[in-house]
């Protein structure tokens, strides 16, 4: 089992929901019965038989979301996020499963740390969570971790996220060796010699502001390296948080050539551009950085044509004192679990840029399939992993609302449309508004 956390055997009837499951090809108004945490009946006028009834009033019921890219900051920075707080935040965002990144203190690079986290998660995770492990010991780019043993102990995937695997030679070894596991290598693509001293996208805005530039090529050169190695070794790769048009072009070409490569985009890269950095608000500082409108359009095109199959938040909590400093002194990273769907709905779905069903697919089946997790489905016999969303609701993003221990959101102060009102994860009600 890759995922650990609380599960349940709740009995419920959700009445009068607009049930939408793009994978199952379902979009109709009906009722859903859950018995002992499993969907047992989908129909109309279901008799509650004395169990709790949730009146959906036409709200949207979709398979719950899966986020393969979350920083839970545990162990080491439990002041910024804990397994309990991060998974509660995920539940509030409509997620039924998340994968945590291993760049903690200490790094998840051995089975002792991994087993400790999994034991802790079994107790306190509000939704099931999987823990990824590092590709190299300490993420230092010198020595491969014991990937075989880590996979047996439940590592969900392998990544040196936060930085690239240091050299092409070592990356090649990791790909070759990883053939003994059935876990994915999920890669942060960056060429450090091009991004050193970079604080934002290198372009007209960085030239004007005087901030050190982090060029598109800093990512796409890394993307080209990883795709070449994946093609050469015949091993699959997943490319995280893509931001540049050139990266997407490389990925599309590699996929067409038969390379087993998948890609991921984050809501902030889909909604914002480097123009936002003019405010010098440190909640617009992330790695990779916000890029141009042309890059944003490339990400949207890639989501539409399937080149990018995964929407992931790269939820990266930072304490107030870390972010409340001048732009150059601030760390990279923003939170996103609790705003992901609402932000995409407000800025992309409602204006007609992306179809609702496609976004749902890229937040549920897309990531689950990519990482070999069970696909959340609304079908009889499936475990209840469901999210109920009021599309008509509006809410203001404020610090007090967050379940996350950190509030470094790029949406602070914004009014968003649509609100998750109920999340059922692994048969258990994990969040209720």
């Amino acid at each position: 089992m890759i995922l650990v956390g609380k599960s349940g055997a709740d009995d419920l009837v959700i009445r009068g929901a607009r049930v939408l499951d793009p994978t199952e090809g379902v979009d109709l108004v009906c009722d859903v019965r859950i018995v002992a945490g499993v969907i047992t009946e989908i129909g109309t006028s279901l008799d509650p038989n004395g169990v709790r009834v949730i009146e959906a009033d036409g709200n949207l019921l979709v398979p719950a979301f899966v986020d393969p890219h979350v920083h839970l900051r545990t162990p080491g920075r439990e002041d910024e996020e804990t397994i309990a707080s991060g998974t509660a935040a995920a539940a509030a965002g409509g997620y039924c499963a998340i994968l945590a990144m291993p760049n903690t203190e200490p790094v998840v690079d051995n089975t002792d740390v991994l087993r400790g986290l999994r034991a802790q998660a079994a107790e306190e995770a509000e939704i099931p969570v999987g823990f990824t492990a590092a590709i190299t010991v300490g993420q230092l780019g010198q020595q491969l971790t014991e990937m075989g043993e880590l996979a047996e102990a439940g590592a969900a995937a392998f990544t040196d996220d936060g930085r690239p695997v240091a050299t092409a030679g070592l990356m090649r070894r990791a790909l070759e060796y990883n053939a003994i596991t059935d876990r994915l290598l999920t890669l942060h693509c960056e060429e450090p010699s091009l991004t050193k001293g970079g604080h934002m996208h290198m372009g007209a805005v960085s030239a004007e502001l005087g901030l050190g530039g982090w060029p598109s090529l800093g990512e796409s050169l890394g993307v080209a390296r990883e795709l070449s190695l994946a093609g050469d070794t015949g091993q699959p790769v997943h490319l995280m948080h893509l931001s540049a048009r050139e990266s997407v072009d490389h990925l599309r070409a590699a996929q067409a050539a038969g390379v087993a490569a998948t890609g991921e985009a984050s809501p902030h890269h889909l909604v914002l551009t480097d123009e936002a950095v003019r405010s010098l608000d440190t909640n617009f500082k992330m790695n990779p950085p916000l890029r141009t409108e042309d890059d944003r359009q490339a990400l949207i095109e890639a989501l539409l044509d399937g080149t990018i199959g995964v929407i992931a938040t790269d939820h990266a909590p930072h304490s107030r004192e870390e972010k409340d400093v001048p732009f150059e002194a601030a760390p990279f990273g923003v939170t996103g679990l609790e705003t992901a769907f609402s932000s995409l709905y407000t800025y992309l779905i409602e204006p007609g840029v992306l179809p609702l069903g496609l976004v749902i697919e890229r937040m549920t089946a897309g990531p689950a399939r990519t990482f070999g997790l069970d696909i959340p489905r609304i079908a009889v016999g499936a475990p209840a992993n469901l999210t109920l969303i009021n599309l008509a609701a509006t809410w203001r993003v404020t610090e007090e609302r967050f379940k996350s221990l950190s509030a470094n959101s790029w949406l602070l102060g914004e009014r968003l449309h649509s609100k998750v009102v109920l999340t059922i994860a692994a048969g258990r009600v994990a969040y209720e508004a």
Binding site: K196, G197, H199, G203, A204, V205, S206, A207, E208, L209, G210, L211, R278, S279, L280, T282, E321, D324, V325, P326, F327, E328, A329, A330
Partner: protein, 328 residues
């Protein structure tokens, strides 16, 4: 004996009187009207500085706090004197290098200063965005006296003032900015300001030090300064150069190809430099000491422009400046 009068600058040049707390964080905060108003006010103050008694009572009882997290001689001196000439109280803080590394100390410093209820905080900081942070954290008007490679708006204003006084116009003036634009907040602010007033700008220097995207033309050939009215020489910011970054192979090669020398200038061109100068690197000493150089005029302009900025931020009514009446 000179005659005193109240010189009323035209009503069009009034600062906004909506009571909103204003800052000068970036040239991007200004429009053409703001620049015209500030330069006109500076001109009035320049006339006042020709009198024996140079102090004006205008900002008596106001407090101007100068907070410098980065070494500075001319800017801090200029702001301090500007405040004193307007009769404001001044308070100066020079932060040590070590506290700069700890970002949280900036907010704490701002809060500590706030306890004295300064009307204006003038801040210089090595990190971009520090003045914005102070503006959020305090109730003072904040003036950016230089933040990293980002902005130095009062330098841009004093440069416009100097050009305007020297050539009698700003529209259509051709300015060649020579040298390390990439690391220069002076260049960034000046390019924005010059574009705002309709000047023509050419950046000249080594390719890696001339960023694209500033909306002005670039040239790698020093001969392209020939058509400029003003040759604006930037300091080679060696302290900002990361080791091994190789922006230029050597200072020797830089000087040989892009150094501003007398034989690269024609006599009618004016030369400016924000200081401090590396004589013999980006500028030949004979140029620096020639009558073509406006470097001392820039320093004088700095005083009256900063007086104008402080005055402008702290007044919302019509611009009434006590000056010596000019004899027709």
């Amino acid at each position: 004996m000179t005659e005193r009068s109240l010189h009323v600058v035209s009503g069009d040049l009034r600062p906004p009187s909506d009571g909103e707390r204003r800052h000068l964080l970036s040239v991007a905060d200004l429009d053409r009207d703001d620049i015209d108003r500030l330069l006109a006010t500076a001109h009035s103050f320049a006339l006042s500085q020709e009198r024996d008694t140079k102090k004006l009572p205008t900002l008596r009882g106001r407090l101007v706090a100068n907070v410098f997290f980065e070494s500075s001689t001319r800017t801090s001196t200029s702001f301090e004197l500007a405040a004193k000439r307007l009769s404001a109280d001044t308070l100066s803080m020079k932060a040590s290098g070590s506290s700069v590394d700890k970002g949280e100390s900036l907010r704490d410093t701002a809060l500590t200063l706030s306890a004295y209820e300064p009307d204006v905080i003038v801040i210089r900081h090595p990190q971009i965005g520090a003045p914005q942070l102070v503006a959020q954290a305090t109730h003072a008007h904040v003036v950016n006296a230089g933040d990293g490679k980002h902005q130095h708006p009062t330098q841009a204003l004093l440069d416009l003032y100097t050009i305007s006084e020297s050539l009698g116009r700003l529209d259509g003036v051709h300015v060649a900015i020579v040298g390390d634009v990439l690391h220069s907040r002076v260049a960034r602010s000046l390019v924005q300001a010059l574009r705002l007033v309709g000047a023509h700008v050419t950046l000249v220097g080594p390719p890696p030090l001339l960023p694209e995207g500033l909306g002005v033309e670039r040239s790698f050939d020093i001969r392209d300064i020939a058509n400029a009215d003003i040759v604006y020489v930037l300091r080679m910011q060696r302290e900002r150069m990361e080791e091994g970054a190789n922006y230029v192979p050597s200072l020797r090669e830089y000087t040989a190809r892009w150094g501003v020398t007398l034989d690269r200038l024609s006599p009618n061109q004016r030369v400016m430099h924000p200081g401090p100068m590396n004589r013999g690197v980006e500028i030949d000493p004979r140029v620096a000491d020639s009558p073509q150089a406006l470097v001392v005029d820039q320093v004088k302009a700095g005083l009256v422009v900063r007086m104008a900025v402080l005055y402008d931020l702290l007044t919302t009514g019509p611009v009434l400046v006590e000056t010596t009446a000019e004899v027709a």
